[in-house]
């Protein structure tokens, strides 16, 4: 019994210690990234990461967005048609895509694509002493490796979410109007009535947080991965699982915050309008 309590206490201690280590890493990454914005010598590194993280993710993000929109159209059509409201399908699809499903599913896809790549790259650099080599040459590895990746993710995840939204809207339109023959004019006019700029903005702002979380978690796991191929593989898995959970937590927290802000400002907006 004592042994079990002792082991449990050691586990708790280790958990607290790794949480502290992660907290310090997040703080250091945030400060270094903020400082790097002002340094022009960091721009080529950010640019290179933007190409890898952003540009090369566009096809997979567009495919994700398109299928989200198309699937929503197929799923929702029967329910709305049963009530004679099929022309409102656009509102349902487009609000769901731009507010929730587009950003979250795109972020999950990015956590797999970018997060895995970042963790594997930095993890391999860690086990082959390349990170130590950077440090031994008097360069801060967080400044050289983490800050450009964090900044590239922060800047490009919202942009990629816009792509996912766009393709989600087109996918939804394709199934609804072309396949299910809903009146196009009604589809778009109901959509325009139901989807506000606020909805699109919420999704894009979420992307900023999701991108930051994916980058920091992946870099942390890469920097602290255990030796060997198994260590790198385990770090990649942990990075994806942790990113996925954090994306869901951030999403929930932001939905609560956005709702509170919207409720506070909605009466003011109608007064002005």
């Amino acid at each position: 019994m004592r042994g079990m309590i002792g082991a449990a206490l050691i586990k708790i201690g280790e958990g607290v210690s790794s949480a502290g280590q992660f907290g310090r890493f997040v703080w250091r990454s945030a400060v270094t990234s903020a400082e790097s914005i002002a340094r022009s010598e960091t721009y080529p590194l950010i640019w290179a990461q933007m190409l890898l993280i952003g540009v090369r993710s566009v096809p997979v993000i567009m495919i994700t967005g398109a299928f989200v929109g198309m699937t929503l159209a197929v799923q929702a059509y029967d329910q709305l048609a049963g009530m004679g409201l099929e022309e409102h399908l656009g509102v349902l699809i487009n609000v769901s895509v731009v507010k929730e499903l587009g950003p979250v599913l795109a972020a999950v896809m990015l956590a797999g694509r970018i997060g895995g790549a970042l963790t594997a790259e930095l993890g391999t650099m860690n086990v082959t002493e390349q990170i130590d080599a950077i440090e031994s040459m008097g360069t801060d590895p967080v400044k050289y490796l983490v800050a450009p990746r964090v900044l590239a993710c922060l800047l490009l995840t919202p942009a990629l979410i816009i792509y996912a939204d766009l393709l989600g809207i087109i996918g939804g339109w394709f199934v609804s109007v072309v396949q299910l023959h809903i009146n196009a004019r009604a589809y778009w006019s109901f959509s325009a009535y139901g989807v506000e700029l606020w909805d699109v903005g919420c999704g894009v702002i979420k992307g900023f947080f999701f991108g930051g979380a994916i980058a920091v978690i992946s870099c942390y796991k890469g920097f602290h991965c255990k030796e060997g191929a198994r260590g790198v593989g385990q770090a990649c898995t942990e990075a994806f699982v942790m990113s996925f959970i954090v994306i869901l937590i951030i999403d929930f927290a932001l939905v609560v915050v956005f709702k509170a802000i919207y409720s506070s400002f909605w009466p003011l907006r109608s007064m002005v309008g």
Binding site: D132, A133, S136, M137
Partner: protein, 291 residues
């Protein structure tokens, strides 16, 4: 070069009164623990300027950890590290980066950046620490460093296209890119054939002769140690058990030192090996043999 049968009186395990200005690098009562595992046990040591010090010892005895403490890639659990009289183990990372520019570090596997070409690898520390006004000057510097290690012409190659020996030599060129005062070598000849290993030894001697650098090498290659060392230190179970020049080490009376330098297994380990029969049928998994 003085090659007498001489014990280093400057510093030894018994003498823990090492002063910060006794050498270019000074470790004072340094202990390093990983959990309950004591890797370095109250080590005091002064590295003499302009000399080559070789740290020998069996695998896992803490040689690399000791080397990493000299440049504060790892911080001691207790004790102090000095560089040119200045305490460096308590500096923050920003201040340490300035100090580290005085060092070159050759990692065991080279640790070349595989996403960068040979030229970009060598340029890396230059780009980080120097204001580049003329790119042609940097190219010239890269060419000179590669010439020094006998690899001029490989500028556009990537580490994946190089052999093990070439990688080590490129890593050495990168380590000397900023003309450091101290070069730390982690197993410089490990994994190389005898001819390539000797090339690296000659390069280390050449750098000492031509650049007058202070060198600290960690190795278990005794041929290399005898060739390059002005002073040899032997680590065992985290402690320094022998410290002197090559002849002193060769004639050391300690059995552990003799076994190590002669490459002989200890009697106890030999007995254990002889007790286990390689053809022992009591294997955990029996192979099914079909008739």
């Amino acid at each position: 070069m003085e090659k007498q049968n001489k014990q280093n009186e400057n510093v030894s395990t018994e003498n823990n009164s090492t002063k910060p200005d006794d050498g270019i690098i000074v470790l004072k009562n340094v202990t390093k623990q990983f959990g309950n595992n004591v890797v370095l046990d109250n080590i005091s040591l002064a590295i003499e300027k302009g000399k080559t010090t070789v740290v020998i010892g069996p695998s896992g005895c803490g040689k690399t950890v000791l080397l990493k403490h000299m440049i504060v890639l790892q911080r001691p659990t207790s004790g102090e590290v000095y560089f040119k009289g200045q305490r460096i183990d308590d500096l923050d990372d920003k201040d340490l980066n300035g100090i580290r520019a005085h060092f070159g570090y050759l990692f065991q596997a080279g640790a070349l950046f595989d996403s960068l070409s040979v030229a970009e690898n060598i340029m890396f520390p230059v780009r980080q620490h120097c204001q580049i006004t003329r790119f042609s000057a940097v190219e010239e510097l890269v060419r000179n460093k590669l010439k020094m290690v006998g690899l001029d012409g490989l500028q556009s190659f990537y580490p994946a296209n190089l052999s093990g020996g070439q990688r080590k030599r490129v890593a050495l060129a990168r380590a000397i890119a900023l003309d450091p005062e101290v070069i730390l070598y982690d197993e410089p000849t490990t994994g190389l054939d005898p001819i390539r290993a000797d090339t690296i030894n000659e390069l280390i001697l050449k750098l000492e002769r031509e650049l007058h650098v202070t060198s600290v090498a960690v190795t278990h290659d005794m041929k290399s140690a005898y060739k390059i060392a002005d002073r040899i230190i032997m680590l065992h179970h985290g402690k320094i058990i022998a410290d002197g020049d090559a002849d002193y080490i060769r004639n050391h009376s300690d059995l552990v030192v003799q076994q190590f330098i002669e490459g002989e297994v200890s009697k106890k380990e030999l007995e254990q090996l002889q007790k286990t029969n390689a053809a022992n049928p009591a294997r955990p998994v029996t192979r099914k043999i079909d008739d």
